[in-house]
Symmetry: C2
């Protein structure tokens, strides 16, 4: 009772007693938790987090904007943080956010074991995964049919006469992950299946898989174009790779056909405009946020796993036909 | 002492006493504050916040990425949130973040009175402002010479023969703010001064100031081009306006010269490539983050106010000469 009175600044407690109690609480790491207090008084603002690879990637920016709109409808606040495709950093980011009272988490997880997201850490707070479904974490997820989308891109180029189709891919060394759970491996798998389905052999010379960003993608495209028998078409595995390819190909694309994975602002303003296979980041964000808020509202349905399809947006760059050889 | 023992789960306290004490603490809104505890044990992760208008705007994305790199060097975590140019929402976002234990704040403030950021709310936590310097808040700030940059854009178009220079501007109704403190009004002022300096009269028909985003900017450009005596050049007041203009002008720009404020990815890949006046968002983010971490480290120098210049990057679109009239 004395403690309670001290905390509520009751005049019934002698000042020296109050000071003593506060001091003890400070020593052991307690302090007034304003959000817990707000909660009881119905004044709290729910805070949800979105953790992605790179906050500057426009795919995540579009996704984040939709999440934010759902959050606003629920009078909640969204904070975004990035983990740079690094599991140790992701763990630090997520743990810090949860320690600071995050109410729910949307995450584009890095590859690897996510066992650190223990029940003890989560304290029943909901997590919805985007994109990948890593090991060690059994929860709601909204994914993309990467295999199907990449396959579609390759077959689209085949239908326009291409037989030498280069792949410009991101990421580090291949991991042992389940290919169906990892968007990167899924896209590579889709590229292979597209070739197989078209009856084209897989030529490792046409495949560049280790590009960390725009600059590395540009280098890879330069290398591909310098081959004795260069590709007549390129499939760029995400929008960073597409931008890298555009930097090398330039306006007009030098006659090289191009299909990118993921749409990007201004894709339709190029000459020719850029053809993409694209999951809708807005839809992904919206679906995931809606699941998260349903969970926050007490929804206890079994785990929900949604896979979104991708559309092929034919704008011109993917419909260029191979140039005849000199 | 009993309280301390309860909190530290000491075996010297009878379970029923421990339960009683925990219950009282819960009732009054206390709970174990993990970050306070971490701090004492040297394990805390500093969390800083970046609050901007719109997390999906690539200008803020570039800025955020640099802030993140500075944060990483200090082993700190950055969270980003947006306030949609709405002061009430900004207040909620900032208050919530501070309640949740944010250690320092970088903010691109909306216009209006920021008196809500009281000493009581801040509890000595540092704030560094980006862009604007609103009333009611006397703190470190990193701004841009908007007037000078806009003036430079207009004079560049004048130097290339243009006399009818349209302005595509963002924002809501004009507020009563100090023009030097608000980037929007600063850019309008720079446009006016550029015209005056070139001896060109200000023609309100050529000025569109209320565009909320890309789509509204596109509409404004369509209206400008439909005028009986249309502009031969456009100055787009931020990268959203530039993108809107590009959607209407298309590849080749239809011979209309264009200078945008703020650079954007792919600006150099267009045909013609896009000329911009651009403060460096990365430099802004870096400078502001460095000031913030200096303050977090105990730096008590007087308030620091930095104004960054902008560069003009001539790439082609701003160097098109007016077409002769039919």
């Amino acid at each position: 009772m004395t403690v309670s009175r001290v905390l509520n600044r009751s005049p019934l407690v002698a000042p020296e007693t109050a000071d003593r109690v506060r001091e003890v609480m400070e020593q052991v790491g307690f302090r007034l938790n304003q959000s817990a207090r707000n909660l009881r008084q119905g004044r709290t603002t729910t805070m949800i987090g979105l953790v992605v690879d790179d906050i500057a990637n426009p795919f995540y920016a579009s996704l984040g904007r939709e999440v934010e709109q759902v959050a606003e409808r629920h009078d909640a606040l969204l904070v975004v943080a990035s983990c740079g495709s690094d599991l140790a950093r992701e763990r630090r980011v997520v743990t810090t956010l949860l320690d600071r009272g995050l109410d729910g988490l949307l995450m584009y997880p890095t590859a690897g074991d996510h066992g650190y997201l223990s029940e003890e850490l989560l304290e029943k707070r909901p997590v919805v995964l985007l994109g990948r479904r890593p090991s060690g974490l059994d929860t709601d997820a909204v994914g993309v049919d990467n295999v199907g989308a990449a396959m579609r891109a390759v077959l689209h180029l085949f239908d326009h006469g291409h037989r030498r189709i280069g792949l410009v891919g991101y990421g580090r060394a291949e991991s042992g992950d389940d290919p169906n759970a990892d968007h990167r491996l899924g896209r590579i798998e889709g590229y292979r299946r597209g070739l197989a389905s078209a009856g084209i052999g897989y030529d490792p010379d046409l495949v560049r898989l280790r590009c960390a960003g725009v600059n590395e993608a540009a280098t890879a495209v330069r290398e591909l174009l310098a081959l004795p028998d260069p590709p007549t078409a390129l499939f760029a595995m995400n929008n960073r790779m597409t931008v890298g390819a555009l930097r090398v190909l330039g306006a007009g694309l030098g006659g090289v056909a191009l299909v990118g994975f993921d749409d990007f602002e201004l894709a339709d303003v190029f000459d020719p405009p850029i053809t993409v296979v694209a999951p809708d980041p807005g839809e992904m964000g919206r679906r995931a946020a809606e699941i998260l808020f349903a969970r926050l509202g007490g929804d206890e349905r079994p785990i929900e796993r949604t896979t979104l399809g991708a559309v092929l947006i034919a704008r011109g760059s993917g419909e260029l036909r191979p140039r005849s050889r000199p």
